[in-house]
Symmetry: C2
C-alpha cells in the first residue's frame, strides 16, 4: 500500500504534472517528476526530477525503481516506455488505457464496441482508403491523424473531396481517421475517477467552449437535462470499467439536440486529468488533481461536491498579462503555471470563478 | 515590481514555509527556500533550496542575491541575518517587526505603548527583579523567557513565590518576563494582512483551543459579540500600521468576560502566517499563504470571505496515523506536511472541515 511519505512518480512535466505534484505534496507524498525538458514547470514543485527522454531505458528503469507508484500527465507515452515502467513499479492508469486512447481509430473502435454512440469513422492510410471512407461517411467530415493530435493540431474539416487529400498530404500522409461531422449544440465532458476496486466518482458535467481549437471556457453546471447528465456519467463509467481504469479520466462528448431531445456522441477519451476539470480546483470539494492522486495511490476517493456555479477560463498566451487585474478581482482565483515564455496558443494559467448556486 | 516568474525567497523550511511555497508556485513564482536542516519539508515543493545556517553570511548573501524578495516563516530570525538579507534584497515583513516580536518584553512594551490592553508585565533578569515583579504584579502569574518560546516551551505558571525562582533556574536564568495571569474565557486570534500601501484585510476572528500548550482546534466564527470582533480587528490593524507591517500577521488575544461584557487582552504577535490561520486554506476565498505572498510581492490583497463555518484540527504526532480515515470522511480536507518522523508533539498535518453557515 502507498502511504503518505511514499514517492509518487509523474511522467511529464507540464502544468498538469505540476498541479498533480502539488496535490500529492499536500497529502504528504514526495514527488519525483520525469520529463525531457529541463525547463519543465512541474520540476519547480517536486522533491526530485529526472531530465531524460521517454526512450531512455536506463533513466526510466532508475526512475521506476526510485518511486512507489507512477502516473502520467499525457496520453502519448510510448508503449515501450509504459512497459518498462510497469516492469518495475505500479503504473496507473494502466498501459492498455494508454495504447487505446493514443490512437483515435483504436479509441473509436473501443467505444463503438461498447455500444456507445460515436460519429461514423473509418481509417485512412492510403488514397483508396480515403475514397472508401468518404463514400461510407459522406461530407462534410473531419480528417484527423490517428496519433499525437491535440488542441486542433492534426485536424482538418473536409467539405470537398479533394481538400481531404490535401489535408492528408499536409499531415505527412500520417495514418489518419475520417470522422462524420457531428452538428453538435455544444461540447460537454465528464471528469471522473475510478479506483482499482471499481469505486467510481464523477464530477458534475461541464460545458466547454473553444477558441481557435483550444479550450477557452468551462462552465458547470452544463445546463443539460438531468437525464442527459445521468447518461453522460453512465457512459464515462462504462468506459472506465471496460478499461479497468485507475485514476482520473475525461470523456469529451458532443451534445446533439433535435427539438427537445438531447443525445450524446463520444468524441474523445483523455486518460488523465483534463483541462475541462480545472474548475474543480477551488470549485469542488476535492480537486481532480487530488482525486487522481487518491485513486492512483489506492486511497478513498474524495467528495466531488460542487461548491457553486463555476466558470473556468484558460489564460492563453498573452491573456496571462492580465494577472494583476485578475488578482484584484474579488472572487477570481488565479493559477499560473510558471512558464517563462508566453507563446501564442500556449496555456499559461487559468482563472476560476465560483458563484452562489442559482446566482 | 515583483512579477509572476520572479524568484520568491523563504527563510525557514517547515510546514509554514512549505505552504507559503505552494501558494507562491500557484501564482507562477519560482520559490527558493533557505534552511539549515537538509530534511526541511519546504524543500520538497521548491524550485531551489539552500542548506546553510542562519549565521552563514556568504550563503545568506548568495541567497539574497538569487531572489527578488524574501520572507520568513518564523519570528526567531537573528537580527544580523535580517540585516544581511535587507542589504541585498527586499525583506518583508521588515526587520523591526522581527526584533520587536522576538522579544516578549519589547513586544508587550510596544503594544502597551499603543494603549492596547496587555496583561501587567515586568522584566525578570535577576532574583531581585523577580521579587520586584511579584510585588508589582502579584500571583498567580506566568513566567516566560523573553526569547525562543513557543507551544508552551519556556513558560511556567507561578502560584507560589519560590516556584518562580525554580522555574527561572530551569530556564537557565535566561532573560524572562513575568506576566499577570489573565482569567480568560477563551483565546481568539486575528489573522490579517497589510500591504506596503497600508491596505489591510482581516479574516474573521477565530477561537483557539490548546491541548498540552499546542494549538489543537481553531473554530470560525469565534462566537463573540460583533462589537468585540470589530475591536479585535481594530487592534490588529493598529499594531500592523505601527509596525509598518507588510505580509500576514497573527495577533493572539485573550477574551475576558465579566457578565455580558467582553474585553480583549493582547497576548502575542506572530509576524508570519500562523497555525490559527490554517483554516483559511479551503475555508476562505484566499488562503493566508496566498495572502502573504500577495502582500509580500506588493500585489492586491485577496478576498478574506469565509466559505462557511470552519473547524481546523491539528494532527499532532500519532494523530496523523488516522490519515486514511480522514481521507474517507466526506467534507474533511486533509493536509500532511511530508514529515517523515512522527515525534510526540510534532505538527504532522491538519484537517479542515467546512460546514454550511448556521448548520
Amino acid at each position: 500500500m502507498i502511504r503518505p511519505g511514499s514517492t509518487f512518480g509523474i511522467l511529464g512535466g507540464g502544468q498538469l504534472g505540476r498541479m498533480i505534484a502539488m496535490a500529492a505534496a499536500e497529502l504528504g507524498l514526495r514527488v519525483h517528476v520525469y520529463a525531457p525538458d529541463p525547463d519543465s514547470p512541474a520540476f519547480e514543485v517536486a522533491a526530485a526530477h529526472t531530465v531524460a527522454s521517454y526512450e531512455d531505458e536506463t533513466a526510466l528503469t532508475d526512475f521506476a525503481q526510485a518511486v512507489d507508484v507512477v502516473t502520467y500527465e499525457f496520453e502519448n507515452v510510448p508503449g515501450a516506455t509504459a512497459a518498462i515502467l510497469s516492469d518495475h513499479t505500479r503504473l496507473a492508469p494502466n498501459a492498455r488505457a494508454l495504447s487505446i486512447t493514443q490512437d483515435r481509430f483504436a479509441e473509436k473502435t473501443f467505444v463503438a464496441d461498447l455500444g456507445i454512440p460515436v460519429a461514423p469513422f473509418a481509417a485512412v492510410s492510403t488514397p483508396p482508403e480515403y475514397t472508401e471512407a468518404v463514400a461510407a461517411i459522406g461530407l462534410p467530415a473531419v480528417l484527423k491523424t490517428r496519433r499525437f493530435g491535440y488542441d486542433g493540431k492534426g485536424q482538418a474539416m473536409i467539405e470537398r473531396w479533394d481538400s481531404g487529400l490535401a489535408a492528408w498530404n499536409d499531415f505527412g500522409q500520417a495514418a489518419s481517421i475520417l470522422e462524420g461531422f457531428v452538428a453538435f449544440e455544444r461540447e460537454v465532458s465528464v471528469v471522473a475517477a475510478r479506483t482499482r476496486d471499481g469505486n467510481f466518482a464523477a464530477y458534475d458535467l461541464c460545458a466547454n467552449e473553444h477558441r481557435s481549437h483550444i479550450l477557452d471556457t468551462t462552465r458547470v453546471p452544463a445546463g443539460v437535462a438531468p437525464q442527459t447528465e445521468r447518461e453522460a456519467v453512465t457512459i464515462a463509467r462504462r468506459i472506465a470499467d471496460a478499461l479497468d481504469y485507475v485514476g482520473v479520466l475525461a470523456v469529451e462528448m458532443f451534445l446533439v439536440r433535435e427539438g427537445d431531445r438531447e443525445s450524446l456522441v463520444v468524441n474523445e477519451i483523455a486518460p488523465r486529468v483534463h483541462n475541462s476539470g480545472h474548475w474543480t480546483l477551488g470549485g469542488a470539494q476535492t480537486s481532480q488533481f487530488e482525486q487522481h492522486v487518491r485513486a492512483v495511490c489506492g486511497w478513498p476517493l474524495g467528495s466531488t461536491r460542487r461548491l457553486g456555479r463555476v466558470q473556468m477560463q484558460n489564460l492563453i498566451g498573452s491573456d496571462a498579462d492580465r494577472w494583476e487585474a485578475l488578482l484584484a478581482e474579488p472572487g477570481a482565483r488565479l493559477h499560473l503555471y510558471g512558464k517563462t515564455q508566453a507563446r501564442p496558443g500556449r496555456k499559461m494559467g487559468h482563472v476560476t470563478r465560483v458563484f452562489p448556486e442559482g446566482g
